[in-house]
Assembly symmetry: C2
Amino acid sequence: MHPIQVGDIAGVGCFTDSCRSCEECKDGDENLCSGTGGMQGTYGAACAEAKQPGGVTQGGYSGDIVVDESYVIKVPENMHVAAAAPLLCAGITCYSPFISHGIKAGQNLGVVGLGGLGHMAVKIGAAMGCNVTVITRDESKRELALSFGAKNVVISTDKVQMDAAAKSLHFIYNSIAFAHDIHPYLNLLKSNGTIIMVGGVPQGSMPAGSFALIPRNLRIAGSLIGGIRQTQEMIDFCAKHNIVCSIEMIDATPEAVEIAWKRTIASDVKFRFVIDTKATLPKLA
Amino acid sequence: MHPIQVGDIAGVGCFTDSCRSCEECKDGDENLCSGTGGMQGTYGAACAEAKQPGGVTQGGYSGDIVVDESYVIKVPENMHVAAAAPLLCAGITCYSPFISHGIKAGQNLGVVGLGGLGHMAVKIGAAMGCNVTVITRDESKRELALSFGAKNVVISTDKVQMDAAAKSLHFIYNSIAFAHDIHPYLNLLKSNGTIIMVGGVPQGSMPAGSFALIPRNLRIAGSLIGGIRQTQEMIDFCAKHNIVCSIEMIDATPEAVEIAWKRTIASDVKFRFVIDTKATLPKLA
């Protein structure tokens, strides 16, 4: 059934299993599994001690991983493996809401924040035929944004630019992951527009009342990665359109990871660090 | 062009004109008109002194009204005129989001609050083939809810009932118009579910952060009445399904209006007051 064969390159996304029997799993939304315990996270999730000493899944720090074939993604041939890896999280986190919200070619898509998620949203949105506008506080990201396929860049701290872009966007992909006021972004939406929230912000960011949405039929949507079938569809789409993640490769050493972590916190990564476990981790027997 | 003819009964909804040239007007979303001044409100809106002494539109307190044929709705023959009148506000405020969000027969629709809007949402949702669940704090509304076509009633203050209904609804129509916490209602949505907000609440009601939406791909949508073409479609749908608003008719006297107003504030109206201007207002020359 599954298209993956011995010898193929298998990708593993943010989860390695789910209950397989709840409504969501049956619908192909394993990422939203409502079975006991939900999806089995690839990293930071409790697991059997026999699977992983310590009882916590290690994700990208693993040298090897055992996953049922139903939960792996076939990485298309000729795709740069390291640059494909983050697609399995950042790529699907863009692709999935674009599909489920019916984003279409010719529509105006805003992308707020040009980080690991945002830069993928630009690439995928542009490949879908959208007119992509990047909204960023950082003028220095203009050239990069345009190089990824954006047609416009709006500096969020510049009121004149924000006013000029008012009511121009069908959708906004909001990748900001810290507390912020989304009203200035809601103002960029056309009537009936949707802002897609993917940055997990426990407090802040949401409007205080429904009047922020009602007068122009606006919508706020959350979105969490995507299901296995859709992730395969995403990576095939990316392969077709020559899209990979923009990455910096590092060694699997504590020192390299420490530096990468500090640079990530300082927003100094273009755009995902990938740990080269194959080259630098000791092999299992 | 317009189907209305001399002798027909013409209904006037919440607005009587709009700019006719903005993107929204061209799309048939005159209710969202983004032209200068937006839609011309039927009541409480500034207007020329020549149109209405005092310069404020008087809506349902008017004995006569002059409206361009492009902004009137043909009330189907044989429809009870008084009971049809509130459809032009409450009816379209349900019908429009049901259509734009693609609510389908067989889906589970929750209706929070069984007032003027909520009872119409039950009738229209049931006519669309949805399994309607009314969520109310008021046990005394159970029989009425069922009589309007609801299949289930959940008492919102009863934790056992709310827990039993968790993750069961594809859509929720939230008609509460005062500050309240929507988290208990979000919990009733299935994954990928949408809560439609129609009760204008300036403060309160919205989640504080995006984590309320992301883990289950939930959506919050605002919705404001509907356009002219869609309002005609709504009233034709209602005529086909024998749906009217449940009303109490009152005379156009200050005393009757005063009583009706106090009863409305006390939530004591089943479910819309209609002022019988034809019978009780003095005729214009």
